[in-house]
Amino acid sequence: MIERTVTIVNSKGLHTRPAASLVKTAARFQAELTIRKDNLEINGKSIIGVMTLAAEQGSTLTLVLDGPDEEEACRALEDLFRRGFDEE
């Protein structure tokens, strides 16, 4: 199991489109993805779950990955956050 903290860098936060790319990226891997923000914990492969996070620019999330390809999944997700979900 890996735990990482990531920051939302794109100006519009985790709105519908980035939420969709996050879910899509997570779905490529077997590892389970749990995302924690404040007191909330959701399944990172569920779009409705990610939508509830209301994560704005600058907010931080904790990604918890668990599965055989967790290392690889973690790299892909961290990269996605770093790139600001390729928005703008």
């Binding site: 709105h15 569920s46 779009i47 779950g49 509830t52 209301a54």
Partner: protein
């Protein structure tokens, strides 16, 4: 407005004309049907069939939404169709659906109960947020949940809508409008206006009359009541008598004849027989309205309400996103020009942390917000500047009440230009900057403001409201909202004269500009530009084409000497009927 319930006598409700046309028929009160969900125990043997019901319902819901999305994309453009994408994504959420199926099998409960229970959890998290954007998403979640449940229960959409009806509702979403349009819809009447503009645009493209902003029509009207809808005047009549129906039928005929002759009016330049030219342009909110404005014969866009871009989103659009919209509009309207009005909204719309205001009309809105949020203002100015390379773009500031605000706003434009220079991005360096005159203080200072701007545009709706201290949404004082009040007319005359003394043109983009009874007077007072709803544009043009400037000036002089609104209204009505007998005017 009459708030008494319909008892067989005629009731006239006034709202805002949103889509032209006249019709009458039975009302259908539409309120979002919330499907009833009961908890039922199922046997383990029933689990597969219960899951099959769920999957079928999801497939049907997906089909419905895909259709709505495609239709909206075609009618509203892909930007505005995005509102349906979130719902489609939730429907395709494998984790969510897996969880629901798992619970059906484990808990042995019926599918709709588990759907409601599971999805409501997410909805409640969203509703608990303080973010307006999250509340909007909660609506999407709610919508999609009800759609699935309705499909599980195998209910058809609007099965109760039998035969042709006029849809009466609190508000209409684009998806409602789209779905209804597949029925025989004679018209739309809604309590609320404003944000439902999407629905109004759809109604216009579908050629279905619509009146919005009726405030209490869902309470006054009952399903089955006969109602008549006049989408030209923005009026709904409950239990219309024979006389009313006959009058409306006559008006419909006149408009039909008139609209047939429009083809000949549309390409004409709006000028009086003695060659005084009036710039007659259109007010629009969405680039998709450009085509309609053009066919109605507009010479450009006199007011593009940029706040339409904020509908359904939590954050304001980036420079890039805005540029895309402005560029489409500027390109589409060329060789005519377009005036982009900077975001004119209350602070709450642009900043989720804004305090709720007790008196928003006297609060943080328009230029006040923009100057307090320079990064946001600069994004918008750069977006507009970048769309100005054809030299047909102008920018206008809303709610200016002091010269200091105007100067600061102009500094922001200068700064945005420098930033673009640094990025080597082209724009029109001589872009014209105008001020919307809608606060009495700005009207008083019109000459000084004109000296420091390139044009003035009179926003009559707010100006009248502020000048007369009348909230026209307050039924107790609404009759005091009088556009022909002598104080209003003198103020308008002063603004026009002040602008002309400083050599800048003066236009008008409020509702008064689109009232054919006001046209002779406004032309006579020397107005240079009128920007009106595309639907009324031909009427206004017809008046301009029919009255000599010389005569209009005489009318204006006479009216400005009058002392009561009633006297002025009567005079203008008889003058207009006399000069333009063929126009299908309203009382």
């Amino acid at each position: 407005m009459d708030g008494t319930p319909a008892t067989g006598s005629e009731i006239v409700l006034r709202g805002v004309a949103a889509a032209p046309g006249i019709s009458h028929g039975p009302a259908y009160i539409y309120s979002k049907v919330i499907p009833r969900v009961e908890q039922k125990q199922i046997t383990p043997e029933e689990v597969p069939s219960e899951i099959a019901r769920l999957r079928n319902a999801n497939a049907r819901s997906d089909k419905e939404l895909q259709k709505i999305h495609a239709f909206a994309e075609q009618k509203l453009g892909s930007d505005n169709a995005r509102i349906f994408e979130a719902q489609l994504m939730i429907l395709a959420d494998a984790i969510l659906m897996g969880a629901i199926e798992g619970r059906i099998a484990r808990e042995l409960k019926n599918a709709e109960f588990i759907v409601a229970d599971e999805i409501t959890k997410y909805k409640q998290i969203m509703l608990a947020s303080h973010d307006e954007y999250m509340h909007e998403r909660a609506h999407d979640v709610d919508d999609v949940m009800n759609r699935i449940i309705r499909n599980i229960q195998d209910q058809k959409l609007f099965s109760r809508l039998e035969g042709a009806s006029i849809i009466v509702s609190e508000t209409l979403t684009p998806s409602d409008t789209v779905i209804f349009s597949r029925n025989q819809v004679l018209g739309y009447a809604t309590d609320l206006g404003g944000i439902t503009s999407h629905a109004a645009i759809l109604a216009r493209s579908l050629k279905i009359p619509a009146v919005v902003g009726l405030r209490t029509c869902t309470k006054t009207i009952a399903t089955g009541d006969t109602i008549a809808i006049d989408g030209y005047a923005g009026v709904v009549v409950v239990n219309p008598g024979d006389d009313t129906l006959q009058a409306l039928e006559g008006k419909k005929e006149r408009f039909r004849d008139f609209e047939e002759r429009l083809v000949t009016i549309a390409p004409l330049t709006a000028e009086t027989p003695d060659r005084k030219r009036i710039e007659l342009s259109a007010n629009i909110e969405f680039d998709t309205e450009l085509e309609f404005a053009r066919t109605q014969g507009s010479a450009g866009i006199g007011l593009f309400r940029t706040e339409s871009q904020l509908i359904g989103r939590a954050t304001y659009p980036s420079e890039e996103e805005q540029f895309a919209v402005y560029e489409r509009v500027a390109g589409g309207v060329f060789p005519h020009s377009v005036i982009f009005r900077a975001f004119d909204v209350g602070g709450d719309k642009l900043s989720p942390d804004a305090e709720h205001e007790a008196n928003p009309f006297l609060g943080w809105r328009g230029i006040r917000v923009l100057l307090d949020r320079p990064e946001l203002f600069l994004d918008q100015i750069r977006g507009i500047l970048r769309a100005s390379t054809r030299k047909n773009v102008r920018i206008m500031f809303p709610m200016v009440s002091t010269l200091a605000e105007l100067r600061r706003a102009r500094e922001m434009v200068a700064r945005a230009k420098q930033e673009l220079d640094a990025r080597n991005v082209p724009y029109d360096p001589a872009i014209k900057i105008g001020v919307m005159i809608e606060v009495p203080a700005a009207a008083v200072l019109a000459e000084q403001i004109a000296a420091e701007s390139d044009f003035l545009s009179i926003g009559t709706n707010d100006l009248i409201q502020y000048l007369l201290a009348v909230d026209r949404d307050n039924a107790a004082v609404a009759p005091l909202y009088q556009q022909f009040n002598p104080a209003v007319l003198r103020t308008i005359k002063n603004i026009i004269d002040a602008g002309h003394r400083r050599g800048v043109w003066v236009g008008m983009c409020g509702e008064m500009a689109g009232d054919p009874f006001a046209t002779v007077l406004l032309v006579g007072m020397g107005i240079d530009e009128l920007s009106v709803l595309p639907s009324v544009l031909p009427e206004i043009k017809k008046v301009i084409l029919s009255v000599r400037f010389k005569d209009a000036k005489r009318v204006a002089d006479r009216v400005l000497a009058m002392s009561t609104e009633q006297e002025i209204r009567d005079h203008l009505s008889s003058i207009t009927r006399d000069k333009v007998p063929e126009i299908p005017l309203d009382e």
